[in-house]
């Protein structure tokens, strides 16, 4: 992964609704859905789980997968 991407990458397990909105294609409602989804699951174990969030299309995924990672909660 590029250094820039690494530095910018968001930890899916700690990112706030506001931080998630800095990702391309993610508005307030989708950001909120991601956080709700995270709370319901008790956290993400792999980034692929984002694909189960309603609203994350394959197109969005293409961009997102490079910009997020799963770190400590």
């Amino acid at each position: 992964m590029l250094l820039a991407a690494l530095l910018l990458a968001l930890n899916l397990n700690t990112a706030s609704v506001r931080e998630l909105q800095t990702l391309p294609g993610i508005g307030p409602s989708l950001a909120r859905k991601i956080v709700e989804f995270r709370q319901k699951k008790g956290g993400f174990r792999r980034i692929e789980e984002l694909l189960a969030v309603p609203g994350i299309s394959e197109k969005r995924w293409k961009v997102l997968k490079e910009l997020v990672y799963v770190g400590n909660r």
């Binding site: 699951k41 792999r46 692929e48 789980e49 694909l51 189960a52 394959e58 997968k65």
Partner: protein, 402 residues
């Protein structure tokens, strides 16, 4: 790590100019955040290519393009993209044609199992809207459900299994096809039926699974002897996570008549050991009703049943499910846990040899004598060989009782 090894296999195939993806249940599980049990790989590489690329392979299903690649000590199924030709006898395709990724997915059973994932680029390929169905929690056959089930009759049971395990609803036209084709299940071998039934009972949510079996008509086909009742439903709901297969089966069948249980297990080709345990569970359950009246020796003998914990647990489930009083179960578990193994099954104080040594002639009475000695040992009234022999002499005389 298994996922890394699987990803390396994909990368190797890519380097050689082939397409390759994770496919099926492992992709579904990854998206769901569940650790996949196995990683299956689909590729454009032909079987001979796969064999050439990897040093350790086994041609498990080379006819169908399936090669087992042993990589870093783990086996991985690597299958060439294929579409199946006509199926015979509801189980096996007559032949296969090697095709592309999309065609390969279209022959598969359910949309949630039809995802392709490239672990290297993290691209996901979803030709069947499987992701939508994961998000909506739906089990939906790919394409025409009847045709899918016609191809492999076991798929009706798989629909129930996925629905139950994941807590998904079965999409209406898929469900209709399950119900309509329930009777076709007999074309599947009984071993495969057994395996699928056991997975429904042990992978979580056994009660909704069994309910679906009932409502679809599948229960009537595979377990006609079983009376589906609210009690059985509630009992299955009380199963703990990942129960042993034979225990789960015991819970399902604990209200069925003994000879019918034996018939079911025989038919579904359960092993002798499993049959023994399942029958013992049903046979011994009634004994808990009067357990407080049992003598110490009788209790200890009862507790010697193999895997007595299972008997206890069934007693608990049965009582809770019938909203009955738990005192029998509570008493049993307290007594059971209060004794060591050596107290429940101590080595005998005396044997037939000892009786011969004091001048007794071997005969049918030996068994009675030894049982009575053991009773007293278990009750704590006798604790040494000498005491035991004194007791025998006092009860049966000096020598040669006949």
């Amino acid at each position: 790590m298994k996922p890394d090894s699987a990803a390396e296999i994909v990368a190797r195939l890519r380097e050689q100019g082939h397409e390759a993806y994770f496919v099926g249940g492992c992709v579904r599980d990854m998206v769901l955040g569940i650790e996949p049990a196995d990683y299956d790989i689909a590729t454009s590489a032909r079987p001979d290519e796969v064999i050439r690329i990897f040093p350790r392979t086994e041609p498990v299903g080379a006819k169908f393009g399936v090669i087992l690649v042993i990589y870093r000590g783990h086996p991985f199924e690597v299958a060439t993209f294929r579409s199946d030709q006509a199926y015979i006898d509801g189980r096996r395709p007559t032949g296969v044609v090697f095709t592309d990724a999309r065609e390969d997915v279209l022959r598969r059973d359910f949309t949630i199992n039809g995802l392709l994932y490239d672990p290297v680029s993290k691209e996901i390929l979803d030709y069947v809207s499987g992701l939508d169905d994961i998000r909506e929690k739906i089990v939906r056959a790919i394409g025409d459900p009847r045709q899918r089930f016609e191809e492999d009759k076991l798929r009706v049971l798989r629909a129930v299994r996925f629905g139950a395990r994941l807590g998904y609803t079965i999409e209406p036209s898929t469900w209709k096809a399950v119900c309509a084709m329930a009777s076709g299940i007999h074309q599947v071998s009984r071993e495969r039926i057994r395996e699928e039934l056991l997975r429904i009972l042990t992978e979580g949510n056994a009660a909704p699974g069994a309910r679906m079996l009932e409502e679809s008509g599948l229960r009537r086909e595979i377990l006609p002897e079983l009376q589906w009742t609210a009690h059985i439903d509630r009992s299955l709901a009380l199963l703990k996570k990942r129960p042993a297969e034979d225990f789960a089966m015991g819970v399902l069948l604990h209200e069925t008549a003994i000879d019918e249980i034996a018939g079911i297990l025989e038919r579904l080709k359960f092993s002798r050991a499993e049959m023994h345990h399942i029958l013992a569970l049903a046979e011994n359950l009634p004994r808990f009703a009067a357990i407080q009246d049992m003598s110490t020796s009788a209790l200890k003998r009862f507790f010697r049943l193999p895997r007595f914990e299972d008997h206890l647990e069934l007693a608990r489930i049965h009582a809770v499910a019938s909203d009955a009083d738990l005192s029998g179960y509570g008493y049993a578990s307290e007594r059971y846990l209060g004794w060591t193994r050596a107290e429940i099954a101590p080595s005998p104080l005396i044997t037939g040899e000892d009786l011969i040594a004091i001048g007794y002639r071997p005969g049918p009475l030996f068994k009675e004598i030894l049982t009575r000695v053991e009773d007293r040992q278990l009750e704590g009234q006798l604790s040494s060989r000498d005491q035991a022999l004194d007791f025998v002499r006092a009860e049966y005389g000096k020598e040669n009782p006949s």
